[in-house]
């Protein structure tokens, strides 16, 4: 798939051929994902070019030289920059959902980008005749439409990737930017009823990085209070890779609001070692001490989505890890007496 995208960019294959490649990659991923026994699956996010920008990839009103941004996975990407209004999505997520759905036999989770991520594409020195506010308004409207269509087309849950939370604190230590990000995402979420929001989640991987001793690292303690201000009902929180999980769980217990469901990450995709079901079960049981079991679920820390410039992670390991999550979660619910 990654090779295919390069070929497409290099003009060696056509858009049609690229789509066919997507299709077969998605079909393959879904089959293997289902084979892990995971109750909810994703399409592996094969078709996304990079998660902040997939919906706009190929737009003519973009220049390639926007903000250099360090993403939650640690990679720095230079975001594209919007050059003119009006802003419209090119390939919204429901297009990928359309491709994936015929192959899927269990509920699908569909990821979308967040308004806050897209907000970074507006150039710092502005665009003539297209104000930042107009741009943000267009982003909110596009996202609402995208999420609605995904819900309507039967996505089990729509997951908004809110990975620039950590970045926002680094840009603005006073946290005003983080609050604005939350506020902006809420402008999208508030357009949905409480019932609809039961099927909308937010994904974050804001944790401290094990590999890094870097002073600019931002801790969960700074993020979680604002995070739970988001008017989503489901939170997918990176936890497996945290050095001190208990501390994070305590923070979650303090800050999560009534009715918000927490899916804790029990698998660390960056760790080359495959977790055992026993590891997973232990992590779940630990989480259950802090989060009521009716509001607790499990997830992988971050998706296994391959970035288009990253070939390092093998799919074999990824699926073995997902199998461990499924088995370990089942084990834990037996131990908790839930079966």
């Amino acid at each position: 798939m990654i090779a295919g995208l390069r070929d497409f960019e290099g003009g060696r294959i056509s858009q049609r051929e690229l789509h066919a490649l997507h299709r077969s990659a998605i079909q393959d991923t879904i089959e293997r994902f289902e084979a892990t026994g995971s109750p909810v699956i994703t399409d592996g996010e094969q078709a996304k070019h990079s998660f902040a920008t997939y919906a706009i990839y190929g737009l003519e009103t973009l220049a390639p030289d926007g903000v250099p941004i360090s993403f939650a996975d640690g990679h720095i990407r230079i975001l594209p920059r919007v050059t003119a209004g009006p802003f419209r999505y090119k390939t919204p997520a429901d297009v990928y959902l359309d491709i994936a759905r015929p192959y899927a036999h269990v509920p699908l989770k569909q990821a979308v980008s967040s308004a806050s991520a897209l907000s970074l594409l507006y150039p710092q020195d502005g665009i003539r005749d297209y104000s930042r506010q107009q741009y943000l308004q267009a982003v909110v409207v596009e996202l609402e439409g995208e999420i609605r269509r995904c819900l309507h087309k039967g996505a089990h849950v729509v997951q908004m990737d809110f990975t620039e939370a950590r970045l926002s604190i680094r840009l603005d230590p006073t946290r005003r930017l983080l609050e604005s990000f939350v506020d902006l995402n809420n402008l999208v979420l508030e357009r949905f009823s409480v019932d609809e929001r039961q099927r909308i989640g937010v994904h974050t991987c804001p944790g401290a990085d094990r590999h890094s001793t870097h002073s600019a690292e931002v801790d969960y303690a700074e993020l979680l209070p604002s995070l739970f201000e988001l008017r989503a009902m489901n939170f997918y929180v990176q936890l497996a890779s945290e050095p001190d999980r208990e501390r994070v769980l305590k923070l979650i217990r303090t800050h999560a609001k009534d009715g918000q469901r927490i899916f804790v990450g029990v698998i660390d995709p960056l760790d080359p070692r495959v977790e055992t079901p026993e590891d997973v079960s232990e992590r779940v049981l630990q989480a259950a001490q802090y989060i009521p079991v009716d509001r607790l679920g499990t997830t992988d820390d971050c998706g296994f989505a391959p970035f288009s410039d990253d070939t390092s992670r093998t799919r074999e390991t990824a699926f073995a890890k997902i199998r461990a999550r499924v088995a370990g979660t089942a084990l834990a619910s037996r131990r908790l007496g839930l079966d």
Partner: protein, 442 residues
């Protein structure tokens, strides 16, 4: 160092300082600094890299200028402790200190990149960390020269100083980015809230309009019931007559047919009134659609006619033929007209019977933005005098014992929502005229 070289460095420094103040964004600034540093030919390549926090601890070039882009594409630098982390680019991030290679040909720490570097003509290189006080951007500014030993102590101090200024400027730009985003979001939130408040207001108005419609109709119920009763009584009488005729040996079929036609007409009349009432009571606020003002006027007549007749009021109509179609909610427009007609009727209750004359007049007005439809309801009643004028349209302003004072206030908010105007004038002789102006459809 030669004076000429010193001079050139100063020139370059001035250009860099200008960029620090001029750049609109971080990316633009980094690129501009790289461009400036290679401009005078002292260096072959200038690039700025940020350290990534991925497992490989890569140093990712985010801006570059000069000769050798493909060198950067092919080279991988790391800021970790292993072999790929030994080049100045990574070592300066790791240690927070300037690092350099005097001779790429011989320096063992540069061996992974040596062949490619020599192929590009690089003989020495240097990296200074992007650090200013406690702020660490976790990146480096890198310069490559065609000369060996190009970076003596004073040059390194010079570029380390530049890196510090650059760091401060980046931090300031990031701060602005945060400010800009925050103010953009704040403005959007404010406008969303205005929009929501407007929607809520519209919703409340629609509901209020509905409630008052129900009340108005309640007031009219007696006369409307009477109105419907008449055709019903006629239908019963006619039906009985028909039955009677049909009993005869040779029924007068012509007469029977004629009577049945009358029954059908009476039924239509009653049904029409009832269907008007039902439409009028409907709760839904329909999306605005094209409405013919004449049709709106005709729609309310069955509802007010009985009341007018009861009070001996004569209704005259004068409708322009070429009224423009307007965009609106037909039922709400009818409600406005009904309110005006009721007020007019009420204003004439106390005046002499021969003065009880009501005129509904429609005209076209050509304004700058196109034709407008104007409907005027003119009575010869008690009038409102000049002092009442200002408060007429206030909610709860009434001079009637059983009045609520809502009719005109609701009517005005309905017309406002149609981008139209509603106003009152005093007639030269007696009474008042109320005018509704609505813009024609564009």
């Amino acid at each position: 160092m030669s004076d000429r070289r010193l001079d050139r460095r100063l020139q370059t420094l001035y250009a860099c300082i200008e960029a620090l103040f001029q750049a609109g964004s971080e990316q633009e600034l980094l690129q501009c600094i790289c461009d400036t540093l290679v401009a005078d030919g002292e260096f072959l390549l200038a690039w700025i890299g940020y350290g990534e926090n991925d497992p490989g601890k890569a140093v990712r070039p985010v801006a570059q200028a000069g000769h050798g882009r493909d060198f950067l594409e092919g080279a991988t630098f790391s800021w970790g402790g292993e072999e790929r982390g030994q080049a100045p680019a990574g070592a300066a991030i790791r240690t927070g200190k300037a690092c350099w290679v005097d001779d790429i040909r011989t320096d063992p720490s540069f061996s992974p990149w040596r062949t490619a570097a020599l192929a590009h003509g690089y003989a020495s290189c240097m990296a200074v960390p992007l650090i200013a006080g406690a702020v660490d951007l976790h990146g480096t500014l890198n310069l490559y020269s065609a000369e060996r030993h190009a970076f003596e102590q004073s040059a390194i101090a010079h570029f380390a100083g530049l890196a510090t200024c650059l760091t401060r400027a980046v931090v300031a730009l990031r701060g602005h980015l945060a400010d800009d985003l925050t103010s953009g979001v704040t403005a959007l939130r404010a406008s969303e809230e205005r929009r929501r408040a407007q929607e809520a207001l519209h919703q409340a108005q629609t509901e209020l309009a509905h409630v008052t419609r129900v009340m108005t109709l309640g007031e009219l119920a007696a006369s409307i019931a009477h109105e419907i009763n008449q055709p019903l009584a006629a239908i019963i009488a006619d039906a009985n007559a028909c039955l009677h005729w049909l009993d005869a040996a040779r029924p007068p079929l012509d007469v029977v047919r004629e009577t049945l036609v009358a029954i059908a007409n009476d039924s239509d009349r009653a049904a029409e009134v009832i269907s008007r009432i039902r439409a009028f009571l409907s709760r839904s606020s329909v999306p605005h659609g094209p409405c013919d003002p004449a049709e709106v006027i005709r729609g309310v007549l069955p509802l007010v006619h009985p009341e007018l007749r009861r009070h001996g009021i004569i209704l005259e109509m004068s409708l322009a033929a070429d009224l423009p179609t307007v965009m609106g909610d037909r039922i709400q427009l009818q409600q406005v007209l009904l309110n005006l007609l009721m007020n007019a009727a009420e204003a004439m209750r106390e005046v002499l019977p021969e003065r009880r004359r009501l005129v509904v007049r429609s005209t076209v007005e050509h304004r700058d933005d196109g034709p407008w439809a104007v409907v005027a309801v003119e009575d010869a009643g008690v009038g409102f005098g000049n002092n009442g004028d200002a408060r007429l349209f206030d909610a709860f302003y009434t001079t009637k014992p059983g009045g609520l004072g809502m009719g005109l206030s609701i009517s005005r908010s309905i017309i406002d929502a149609h981008a139209g105007r509603l106003w009152a004038t005093t007639n030269p002789g007696h009474g008042a005229t109320f005018h509704v102006a609505l813009p024609g459809m564009r």
